[in-house]
């Protein structure tokens, strides 16, 4: 166990991102609306020791009721449309929707008309667009940090 913790400390020291200098936080809730699982794999690693989004106040929360940002991956499938709307409707205001990955942005969608609704912005108002197939963990981190900066600018 000590070896593990020592390894983790070393990893964090050599992490790719700079130390946090921001004072705010955002609670994120992820919804997979039909992705290939690539965005999920990269989002998971954005929380691994190399990136460690929590250091910047970016935490993934278990319920949309605790979330500021709904992070949506994948093209929206017809079967995920209702659960996605239910998650959005469960969020307190103010709330933001972030579309994560090219599918969520509606690029090169693969599938049939019956099975797919389309890009996330056909269902919800999208405030942040993170492109990539899939976007790398550092790209996800950079985009979300920009959202915090934006929030700080608007703060009184």
């Amino acid at each position: 166990m000590l070896t593990l913790l020592r390894d983790l400390r070393r990893l964090r020291q050599t992490a790719a991102l700079p130390r946090p200098d921001r004072g705010r936080s955002l609670a994120l809730r992820h919804v997979d609306a039909g992705s290939c699982n690539g965005c999920e794999h990269e989002l998971t690693l954005a929380n691994s020791p190399y990136y460690d989004l929590q250091r910047f106040g970016l935490g993934l929360v278990a319920s949309p009721r605790h979330a500021d940002v709904l992070l949506v991956t994948g093209p929206v499938t017809s079967r995920m449309r209702e659960p996605l709307l239910a998650a959005y409707n469960a969020m307190p205001e103010p709330r933001r929707v972030a579309a994560l990955g090219d599918c969520a942005l509606g690029c090169n969608l693969l599938g049939t008309h019956d099975a797919l609704v389309g890009a996330v912005d056909e269902v919800l108002p999208v405030a942040l667009r993170i492109s990539g197939c899939p976007p790398r963990p550092d790209e996800i981190a950079a985009a979300l940090l920009a959202l915090i900066d934006q929030k700080n600018q608007h703060a009184p």
């Binding site: 166990m1 070896t3 593990l4 913790l5 390894d7 983790l8 990893l11 992820h30 919804v31 997979d32 609306a33 039909g34 992705s35 290939c36 699982n37 690539g38 999920e40 794999h41 990269e42 989002l43 998971t44 690693l45 929380n47 691994s48 020791p49 190399y50 993934l60 278990a62 319920s63 994948g74 093209p75 499938t77 079967r79 995920m80 659960p83 998650a87 090169n108 693969l110 599938g111 049939t112 019956d114 099975a115 797919l116 197939c133 899939p134 790398r136 963990p137």
Partner: protein, 458 residues
């Protein structure tokens, strides 16, 4: 008894295993694979929307028949009750198994889960904390990829196989490429086989590291989870350095591979792999000596060898139950010379065995990569090596087990493509493994299989 059922029964008795079943052009096609790897397609007619079920002979075909019923409107006589699978009927009684009793109740989980997890719905029938039965309803992510691929050329269709799932992108696109090469009478050169085998093992490497991390997460062991997540990151960075993509996207084509490595790149890869091997060995040792972690693993989510065989389990899950099943032993199109499947000492079919299975397979993958990366990689192409046919089959061992792709074509245009992945084969096994266990152990049981929803849903 109809003739196709006789054929299926005889082949199964002779040692063949079920590979896939799908609907095509008013027929139902059952694909079986013999122990030496030869595949056989058994065609049965659909008359007035009805076909004879084979589910009593091959229980592993249950999901396949339910899918064909939902997507192609075929009624399988003898498959009772034929519950919906891909179609989501709001009527609970139409798709769940009735579980009755004074204290039995249901717990609904999903499709949206608490962590960063794919979408799928689980309905647990429980008494107290004890799971009596689990009905899994997937296909929330069904995108209609197979239908959408129809009419495409060999090259145009590969995206549908690859983007079915990022975790198995190489396996799925390679199964697709093999299916086409089989149909077009093409055989890979040795150089191409080696290049593709490296890609397949690089995919297995990051997946197995990821899966070990996931099992740690399943018991809330954050230090172990983070350590192996860090190693997964190292493996994905290596993928990017070698191919330009962390998930090895677009590296496989019909008749080719883009993985070209200079002497310097091969040296870099070997150095990185050596580092990942050393660090993962050290981290694994820490897991072994962490008693509170190890205590959670044995005798949880047990799948006996008989059940694994009956339910058609594949991949690490099947091998952890004591089945010596590995499509790499019969992958003549790849560079797995004299490959022998490995297993840990204890093949009890529980969470511990499935975890240890990943660890022993990782060692094998490091060895395979080391032997394949001994010279610059320069794939050539395919050469003529067989007869042309209007149907081709590809079978590849993905990180989650045997993945089968069937392509039917007319004049090199896809008429029907069907992809049955290792995850698809193993989902019914997860539901079986959960029964009898405690509900709080389900995340752990689920993570010990670590199946993709995306490539099951397609």
């Amino acid at each position: 008894m109809s003739r196709h059922r006789d054929t299926v029964q005889q082949s199964i008795e002779a040692g063949s295993r079920f590979a896939t079943l799908y609907a095509s052009e008013n027929t139902v096609r059952t694909v079986l694979v013999a122990p030496h790897g030869a595949t056989q397609i058994i065609v049965s007619p659909v008359v007035d929307g009805h076909a004879r079920s084979v589910v009593d002979l091959v229980p592993a075909a249950a999901w396949d028949e339910r899918e064909a019923a939902d997507l192609y409107g075929i009624c399988f006589d003898g498959h009772e009750p034929l519950r919906p699978l891909v179609n989501h009927d709001p009527d609970l009684e139409s798709w769940t198994v009735p579980v009755q009793g004074r204290d039995a109740y249901q717990i609904a989980v999903g499709p949206i889960h608490a962590g960063v997890i794919e979408s799928g719905h689980f309905r647990f029938h429980v008494v107290g904390d004890r799971i009596l039965h689990l009905d899994a309803r997937l296909f929330y992510k069904h995108r209609g990829l197979e239908r959408a691929a129809e009419g495409h050329s060999p090259e145009g269709g590969i995206a549908f196989a690859q983007r079915a799932c990022a975790g198995c992108a190489v396996s799925n696109s390679l199964a697709y490429a093999h299916a086409w090469e089989n149909a077009l009478g093409l055989a890979p050169t040795r150089e191409l086989s080696c290049s593709r085998t490296i890609l397949l093992e690089l995919e297995r490497l990051w997946n197995h590291l990821n899966d070990i991390a996931a099992i740690c997460a399943g018991v809330g062991f954050a230090a172990g989870n983070n350590r192996f997540a860090g190693l997964t990151e190292n493996a994905r960075r290596l993928n990017e350095a070698l191919t330009g993509h962390r998930f090895l996207f677009d590296t496989i084509s019909v008749g080719g591979s883009t993985l070209t490595l200079t002497r310097e790149q091969v040296a870099h890869a070997r150095e990185q792999l050596e580092a990942i091997r050393d660090e993962s060995r050290r981290a694994w040792r820490e897991l072994l000596f962490n008693a509170s972690f190890q205590d959670r693993l044995p005798d949880v989510g047990v799948v006996s060898a008989d059940d694994a065989r009956t339910l058609g389990a594949v991949g690490p899950a099947a091998r952890a139950s004591g089945l010596a099943e590995d499509a790499r032993t019969t992958s003549h199109r790849l560079a797995y010379d004299d490959f022998q499947p490995v297993a840990p000492k204890r093949t009890a079919g529980d969470v511990q065995a499935r975890l240890e299975q990943r660890a022993v397979e990782l060692l094998q993958t490091f060895d395979l990569l080391e032997s394949l990366l001994d010279a610059p990689v320069n794939p050539t192409s395919t050469v003529a090596g067989g007869l042309e046919a209007d149907v081709g089959i590809g079978r590849v061992e993905s990180p989650r087990g045997a993945t089968v792709c069937v392509v039917e074509h007319t004049n090199r245009q896809i008429k029907r493509v069907h992809l049955r992945t290792g995850s698809y084969a193993n989902w019914p096994v997860v539901a079986h493994a959960a029964a009898g266990n405690l509900l709080p152990d389900f995340p752990l049981i689920n993570k010990s299989f670590e199946l993709c929803y995306a490539c099951a849903d397609r």
